[in-house]
Amino acid sequence: MSNINTEKTALMSTLPGDDVRQIMWRFADRYEHQMVVQATRSVARGMVARLVADKQRHTHDWTPQKQEMLKAFDEAGVTAAFMEPDQGGYITGPKNLVLALVAFELAWVDAGAATASLANNLALEPIHEKGTPEQIHHYMSGCVPPKPGEKREILRGSFALTEPLPYVGVDAGMLSGKIRIAEWKEGKEPIIQVEKRGRFITNMGYATFVTAAVDTDDPRIKSSCMVILEKGDQGIYDPGAPTLKLVHQLSCTHDPIFNLKIPASRIIGGYTIKDGVIIPNYNHNEVIEAVFRRTRVTVAMMTTAKLLSAIEPVIRYQRTRYRGGEAAKPGTPRYDLGIQQKEDAQHRLLDVWATGEASASLGFEAARLFDEFDPLEKQKDAMFLKDGIKGPRAQMKVFAEPRKRALEYIEIMGKPEAQRDAKRVQDLENDFLTMYVVKESLADVFCPACKLWNTGYGATMMREAVSLMGGYGITEDCPGFLTQKWSDAQLEATYEGPECVQRRQMSLTMVSDVFLAQFKNWIKDLRALDAKKPGMGAGTLASAMELWLWSIEYLQNAKDANGKTLYAGQRQGVTFPMADALAWLLGSRQLILDTLELERKGPENSVLAEGLTGFVNFYSDLSYLQAARAAGEVGKVCAELVYGYQAKGATCALPNAAIKTFAELRSKLDGSLAGARLAKDRAAEAVTQVMIPEALDYPL
């Protein structure tokens, strides 16, 4: 009998190293990024790992040892990676990718350490995105570690949105934190009284400034806003008690209390005065929207890093499981492969691995998208400020034409390159508002998608990784700290907006015509790719995307058995699962794209020459099996939603044509799975052969 997998293919020789990662995640020519990665890694696998090994996670208190970690971040350039050179940093331009890499490297060992580092950027973000030039300069440069000989205390910040129950959680609209005018002398800057209590505020044990969301409690202040509080302001600045959290103990979380007088110049983004009323330039929602759309990507990367960090310890555990026993003599499969002799152990590890890879591909793409989007947004903000365009309606009006041009652009880009009108493409690309619309439509889907899927589904798969280590997995001695990483993942899925927030955002953004037009182009591209390279699962993914697309269009137009609209804001039972399904698709597609990039750019790196085919084969197989997993999810979700709202026994309530189309698409999807399991078998063989280091490069 012939066996389709017996044909000899090159296997992956070693675990993917920096050369492979730099190509896949597109920073092979960004040396500053590569250096930040190395610098961060040395802190993570050195000091941070020792803190975990030394049981510093066992206390809620902020110990001197934990404080040392901040110094290590400062010395290694991690703290200043966020700043511009004129503020004392060393990287020019947008920092989304580099911060995603920092989060990834730190969370590889401990996500709490990543949170401690990134929470400072979170505190700065409101100022960075919407602050006045003076605010930006003062706080950004204040957070840069002093140079040798420079006499200055470094500033460290907290971001305070969340409040004691019942307010501010998922529904960030309702604030109990308030501002009133305390004093307003003629011709002088108004003085504002701020009352705010925070809950679960990171860095608060040592923060010297806080960016806080507050609502107006005074007719002389027009709207909510964000303000900057400083330790030393007149009144109460009480960091409060440490939060008794069970995760991320290398970050410092407190429930603070503030009752302070501050000058109105601390309103983030400034204000104007009209008829004796202070009008903040940005309300708190505008600020936090700009903040979270970026910072959520770094959170997503934390769970991702942990999944990928689990691969090496799991392989080592599996292979060495029986060594030392009577039956496992060196040279026997039992000795060399241990548990890896068993197919299920290989396959489950591959599921963890594929999830980690797809979520990395998705998250880093989101980070790169924001690197492209940032300058466009700055340009747009500047234009709106100059032309006095304020409020959603006025803004919509400005975008009416660019939106049409964006759709035209996407249509042209959907054609083969030879058939495109190059001049028109150039003109459209030079029009920043058009590009803004295109990129925003992607950023608004990719950011919540990676936050949702990487952390939520990632947490589930982190449990799977733990289970692969048996009892060892749930001990403190488990190499790679897998149980800590698993429980930490629950926080990553929660803070900066739990999963429902991401689903809610996606349910609005994923039905935008600009996004869906691009989505349709991707299906075409995947079909073309599948014709050329059938071994990557591109056909499976394209079929799953077609099914999703058909379903979302159907759900938006159809009604349930009671005549109620299916796809609607309140109907989370419909919108939310479709968001999850889309996240699966996006991750799977990005993994395919990153594998193609590796295949294309790999030959330029002579180090990789020897092993490239093995890597490309492995990643193609992984892409295939991930496409199949995504297809399974999408098929399940769509079938349940399309059929599930019909009255029992009356699927015929669906128009016949609709049932037929759905059934055809579903059956095409099922048929497209041919080959997926063979790919999994091939990848499994690679997993049993791949060379791993002798020991983990960080302590236990």
């Binding site: 040395s42 180090v607 490069d697």
Partner: protein, 269 residues
């Protein structure tokens, strides 16, 4: 009196010691399994030499530090992402193998001629540093041969300390048998030192230092010439792992005395 030196550090990469290093017979002679694919680190002894050089430069304004490396240039580029962040230096790159199976005489020739070609190098101020040994070839022969080629007769091996005396002369501590030091005085440059571990900690990574170094590193990598190395000088009859092997094991919080006792027992066994 402070003197400005020209310090040339010779050092290249070795496979990360945590990796499995398995000798195999490659197409061009003995090699390590998947050697190109394995991550590498700066040879630890050469690393000490580099940190000593940087420290000396800090205390002797005007001193220039060069790092001369013979290795596969794409791998050296990767290595620079870490090493360039540690201390400031100018980079000189020779593209070629960094394998432990190369003839050290050939390596020394290539390095010496690269040193000769450094523009503006002042030989009267020249300190050539390197490791007295290497993690990939523990022969301890390269530095002497470089000295020979450059015509430098003051050579110190296994050094842990170099002090510049007020009169500009050097006081050097070399390791000798039995945990003892031999202390020598030397009138001044030029000298060659093969460093042992020195006394300095590894500097932390600092991307800002790295970015400054990259200004010379990238051009150096781009114009790196393939090093002409003859490989016919040495024939390897066979290559194998040592018979006596110690398995790596990881035990937490073991006192140093315990570790020492275990090693002694292992040697005796």
């Amino acid at each position: 009196m402070t003197t400005a030196f020209n310090i040339v550090v010779c050092g290249s990469l070795v496979p990360d010691p945590l990796q499995t290093l398995e000798p195999i017979q490659g197409p061009t002679g003995p090699a390590l399994k998947n050697e190109m694919m394995l991550p590498s680190v700066l040879d630890p002894w050469a690393g000490h030499a580099l940190f000593e050089a940087a420290n000396l430069a800090k205390h002797h304004p005007g001193t220039k530090v060069y790092l001369v490396s013979l290795g596969p240039k794409a791998k050296l580029q990767q290595l620079m992402m870490t090493i360039a962040q540690k201390v400031p230096f100018e980079f000189v790159c020779l593209d070629g193998p960094a394998s432990g199976f190369l003839d050290s005489r050939e390596v020394a020739k290539a390095l010496a001629s690269a040193i000769e070609k450094i523009p503006g190098l002042d030989k009267t101020k020249l300190l050539v540093f390197g490791g007295y040994s290497s993690a990939s070839r523990d022969a301890g022969t390269t530095m002497q041969m470089i000295a020979e080629q450059l015509g430098i007769s003051d050579v110190f091996l296994g050094a842990d300390e170099l002090k510049v005396q007020p009169d500009g002369s050097f006081r050097i501590m070399e390791r000798i048998e039995g945990g003892q030091y031999q202390i020598s005085s030397c009138a001044g440059a030029p000298i060659v030192i093969g460093w042992a571990t020195g006394n300095l900690p590894e500097p932390p990574n600092n991307p800002q230092v790295g970015m400054a170094n990259m200004r010379t590193i990238m051009p150096a990598l781009q114009k790196a010439q393939p090093a002409a190395l003859k490989t016919d000088g040495i024939q390897y009859a066979s290559v194998q792992l040592p018979q006596q092997q110690r398995q790596t094991k990881i035990v937490k919080d073991t006192p140093v005395e315990e570790i020492a006792k275990e090693i002694v027992a292992w040697i005796r066994s």
